[in-house]
């Protein structure tokens, strides 16, 4: 209970502060870098092309399925499992409601449970794929493995806590919350920032193509 009080209290406050400060700091710094002024005459509008690219790059296509089926399937499997577990599990919604006053409907726990298993399996398969594919393995840095561990831990510890595999329950819950806090702390300073930057990046790519009058 002492550990639980700590992870719910000072540790959570610290992790949340690092997360928010880090994310906003990095986003503002990135956005303030801006883009160089293009002196060329624009050949088309930026806005619709930027939006179009955000949608298109987020949508699986037959071409992507052909070139990187494993990455596509595992990527979707993991992200859907992770976000279902994070956002649609009733105790998580309760946590957000109790802290920020927002609330939305949750899913029945057996469905969340299944999604979590899909997320865990997809992450394990992604690691196997990363290690077995010579090119991806060569390109992988220690940060990739750190991010993989930090993402897997909340899913696994949440699963263990929910199914009472680790006892006592307050300990299991404490470890779960602590793992989430670890994820929050490293989030702004690793590739995890892609959760916020991917739409900006897709917008930029699309907008540049739109200005040049080419398909992105």
């Amino acid at each position: 209970m002492d550990l639980l009080a700590w992870v719910r209290g000072p540790a959570f406050d610290a992790a949340l502060a690092i997360f928010i400060v880090g994310v906003i700091w990095r986003l503002i710094e990135l956005l303030m870098l801006g883009r160089g002024v293009s002196l060329a005459e624009p050949r088309g509008p930026e806005f619709p092309a930027g939006l179009r690219t955000i949608v298109l790059r987020s949508w699986p296509s037959a071409a992507k399925l052909k070139t990187g089926a494993t990455t596509l399937v595992l990527g979707y499997g993991f992200h859907i499992g992770f976000f279902v577990g994070l956002l649609l599990f009733v105790p998580h919604i309760e946590l957000v409601h109790a802290t920020f006053g927002l609330r939305w409907p949750g899913l029945p726990t057996p469905l969340v449970d299944a999604a979590t298993v899909v997320g865990i399996v997809a992450l394990l398969a992604a690691l196997a794929h990363r290690l077995s594919h010579p090119v991806i393995r060569f390109l992988s840095t220690s940060q990739d493995y750190l991010v993989w561990v930090a993402t897997l831990l909340p899913l696994v510890t949440g699963y263990l806590a929910f199914h009472r595999i680790v006892n006592p329950y307050p300990l299991a819950l404490s470890i779960h919350i602590l793992c989430v806090e670890l994820l929050m702390v490293i989030f702004p300073f690793t590739k995890l920032m892609h959760a916020f930057t991917l739409f900006i990046a897709r917008w930029y790519n699309g907008a540049i193509a739109g200005r040049r009058g080419v398909q992105s």
Partner: protein, 364 residues
Amino acid sequence: MAQSKTLGERLQSHGVSRRGFLKFCAATASLMALPPSMIPAIAAALEKARRPSVIWLSFQECTGCTESLTRSHTPTIEGLIFDHISLDYHHTLQAAAGDAAEAARKAAMQENEGQYLVVVDGSIPLGNPGFSTIAGVSNVDMLKETVAGAKAVIAVGTCASFGGIPHAYPNPTGAVSVSDLVKDKPVINVSGCPPVPVVITGVLSQLLTFGTLPELDHYGRPLAFFGQSIHDRCYRRPFYDKGLFAETFDDEGARKGWCLYRLGCKGPMTYNACATAKWNEGTSWPVESGHGCLGCSEPDFWDAGSFYKSLSVPTGDVARNAGYAVAAGVALGAAAGALNRAKRAGAIKRHEKVNVDDLGDDQG
């Protein structure tokens, strides 16, 4: 102390039928997760059992545990078994007072050296021995003296098991649990505020039947009663799994008996027998009566935040902290952005333009 009559003879003389007695043994066996083949063994052992001497010490407590155990509606067999242990010392229940009472305790200790059981309710203050005394003896001294010749110690209630409410922050009396002080004797924690009556009779039955201590969990509680969480045995669990929750104590969901998680129920973290043994002869239990579990059988339940907030909710002022963090993030980001811009402007300023004349002959 009268040791002559066996428990079986006593139950018979109180009009308990053989059938009623065996039903109790079957219930005890199932509660302790023993196979049905053990029922005759339990019955035989209980019938032959002599009255064990029990010394009951009450320290920093509210007498709720004694109330819970003695006010279980008589004549239940649990009550009778409880009546027929030889309760040689108990402040609240004994007729004797003062020196006579203390003499009874000392006599019981002497007569049953190494065989008597010590039941403790209440926590023990270490901050100042004067915070709680009995006949001028501090709680800690009385506990040590009494436990020295005991066979085992049963800590009844959350105060004795884990320190309980006296131990709650800021713990002004320096209250500790029995197991914090007693290291050389077996200690069985029967936690709960108060504990379920059938749990203590179950523990006594096991001691009488097998002469052994029950299997304990990591908090020293009998696994047979504390092996599963309230949440896992709760009849409202299907509503939790379906995502159907009461939002207030008097809304549609509350009337339909939906899950009380959103009202702060601590069932998921609490291990106790309430959901199966229930209270008041199986009439009801807190969740059935419409209030979430408080988690009273867990250590430090009083310090686990609001009774009406779920356990995982952060305890700090998250909205305020988040506000400060956003402001700090904006300030840092703007400062870093401004630094980058100044750096770029400086680089542009320092950049020396080169034209074709500057390249000179050595280029060709």
